[in-house]
């Protein structure tokens, strides 16, 4: 099995708070790993560290054997690391389609010189991107609202747009931060199906989620995190059955 995402000895503290305490974690390509833990366990911080938003105190991150440790956020994304956000972070002044169109892994349009001196090349890339974005919108059931502003669609749809935007990024590894919070019905089914498809196409997926049913149905295995540490790893059923973890999860 190909290496996927490998995190070694990741450490980070904010003053007195330890958000990552020597985390070792591997997410093989083609697998869906659920990251479980109570609020404040450090799950979002883990994503921030892996995606380069927050600098770790120590530790390394590799993806598909490529070392990402010293790289900036955008450089990591260009090497195939994508993520979504607990608080969405959609581009509010763009339409649904345009939220996807700024998200390809390579986007010629971000370079002023490419635009000024290679307008034709930019236009061709744009056309190809638009086809891909349209296909992703179809797949996620968002085609009908493609030209609406992201502020004017339902919360469930906004969650889907966040996932669709990450898909547009063509990731090798996808980190999903609470994709199901506040989502029900159609969007719920869609996200579940899309994540499954992703894993089958060989992408390493890590999902932070409080919805136990979702985690149990979707994930190949689970990782339990508490106070910045990985306490256990195993099948989701095993983790749920562990009274020690349940106690930590629900507090005392």
């Amino acid at each position: 099995m190909s290496p996927g995402l490998e995190v070694r000895m990741l450490c980070k503290r904010f003053g007195g708070i330890v958000v990552a305490d020597s985390i070792n974690l591997q997410i093989p390509a083609g697998r869906v790993v659920g990251l479980i833990g109570p609020n404040g366990a450090g799950k979002t911080s883990f994503f921030n560290l892996v995606s380069g938003i927050v600098r770790p105190d120590a530790g390394s991150v590799t993806l598909g054997g490529v070392d990402l440790t010293g790289l900036k956020t955008h450089q990591r994304a260009r090497r195939g690391l994508s993520r979504t956000w607990q608080n969405l972070r959609l581009f509010s002044s763009l339409t649904v389609l345009d939220n996807l169109l700024v998200a390809p892994r390579l986007y010629l349009g971000e370079s002023l010189t490419a635009l000024l001196f290679g307008a034709g090349r930019v236009r061709r890339a744009e056309r190809a991107d638009r086809e891909r974005a349209t296909a992703i919108l179809e797949r996620t059931g968002l085609a009908d609202i493609a030209h609406m502003s992201v502020g004017s669609v339902t919360f469930g749809q906004q969650k889907l747009i966040g996932v669709a935007r990450a898909l547009m990024n063509d990731p090798c590894c996808l980190l999903l931060d609470e994709p199901m919070a506040g989502v029900e019905g159609q969007a719920y089914q869609t996200i579940q199906r899309v994540v499954r498809d992703l894993a089958e196409s060989g992408i390493a997926v890590c999902v932070v989620e409080h919805n136990v049913a979702f985690i149990r149905d979707l994930c190949d295995e689970g990782v339990f995190m508490f106070a910045g540490r990985v306490l256990a790893r195993g099948s989701v059923a095993e983790l749920i059955a562990d009274p020690r973890l349940t106690e930590l999860y629900f507090g005392t």
Partner: protein
């Protein structure tokens, strides 16, 4: 005739200044009010190159624009690296510091101003073509910025302004883009500076201070941020109306204050009548490409 030429010059220059400032602060969301310092750098560079080194005016003006652009990169790179908020402080510091330096150097004419700048002479009938070229450059600036903001780069600018963290997590180099936006806007201000210097042939540091920043900000806000035509209208209206009363042949002691009152009065009227600006920018970015596709998609 000379007076009308001068008025058209000023309006054209303020169109360049206001639209390029809107590009930086409105579209780019880069909070800086030091735009006039790049106007000054373009003006002084071009003037001194022509005055001290005999560089022909058509070469001196672009050289001034390039120096302004490079200076803006030197200000933006280190400050944006620290944080976006730092740009405001760093650029104001740069503006005040550089103007203070100009004031205290003999080479730049000091606080008394730089005179005898080579220019096109009125006698030889050179003013007409110079004004035409300036107006064409102003139109060119508007069209360039309109094209850029409606292109895939414009889409990226909007996304960057909305959320630069999500933007960079998609593989976009937001930092490079911010520097690029700041550099292009500042370079255009430098171009306006050179054009100003060889027409009016006199430069003083006082013309490029915080008052100038306030005037430009007013033009952009009154006209409508994040719209292309808003700042154009703001520049023309706020530059033209106060200037136009010069025709009334009032004594200077009355004219100065009256112009100030007129400017402020216009701002207040516009603010109350149209708080979103004369031409408000849309909340949702609509690039040209998107429009095309939608039209095709419609039955």
């Amino acid at each position: 005739m000379e007076y009308v030429y001068a008025l058209i010059m000023l309006m054209a220059l303020y169109v360049i200044l206001a639209t390029s400032f809107d590009f930086v602060i409105g579209y780019g969301g880069l909070i800086s009010i030091a735009h006039p310092v790049f106007y000054a750098i373009g003006a002084y560079t071009s003037a001194l190159l022509a005055l001290d080194f005999g560089l022909p005016i058509p070469l001196a003006i672009p050289a001034g624009a390039v120096v302004a652009l490079l200076a803006s990169v030197a200000v933006a790179l280190p400050s944006l690296r620290i944080s976006g908020d730092y740009l405001l402080i760093a650029s104001i510091g740069f503006q005040l510091g550089l103007l203070e330096a100009i004031k205290n150097m003999a080479w730049t004419g000091g606080s008394g101003g730089l005179t005898n700048i080579p220019g096109v002479s009125a006698q030889s009938g050179g003013h007409g073509p110079y004004v035409v070229v300036t107006v064409l450059l102003a139109i060119g600036t508007v069209l360039l910025l309109r094209w850029i903001t409606g292109s895939s780069y414009g889409r990226a600018i909007s996304a960057l302004r909305d959320d630069d963290m999500a933007f960079s997590a998609l593989g976009r180099n937001g930092m490079m883009m911010k520097v690029g936006i700041f550099a292009l806007g500042s370079g255009l201000a430098g171009l306006a500076g050179g054009l100003y210097a060889h027409y009016f042939r006199f430069l003083a540091p006082g013309q490029f201070g915080i008052m100038q920043s306030a005037a430009l900000l007013t033009m952009v806000v009154v006209g409508g941020m994040r719209s292309i035509w808003g700042p154009v209208l703001g520049a023309v209206v706020l530059e033209a109306l106060p200037q136009a009363i010069t025709f009334l042949n009032l004594p200077p002691s009355l004219l100065g204050p009256l112009q100030g009152i007129l400017f402020t009065g216009l701002v207040l009227v516009f603010m109350f009548a149209r708080p979103q600006g004369l031409i408000g920018g849309g909340d949702v970015w609509r690039g040209r490409a998107v429009r095309e596709v939608r039209d095709v998609a419609r039955p």
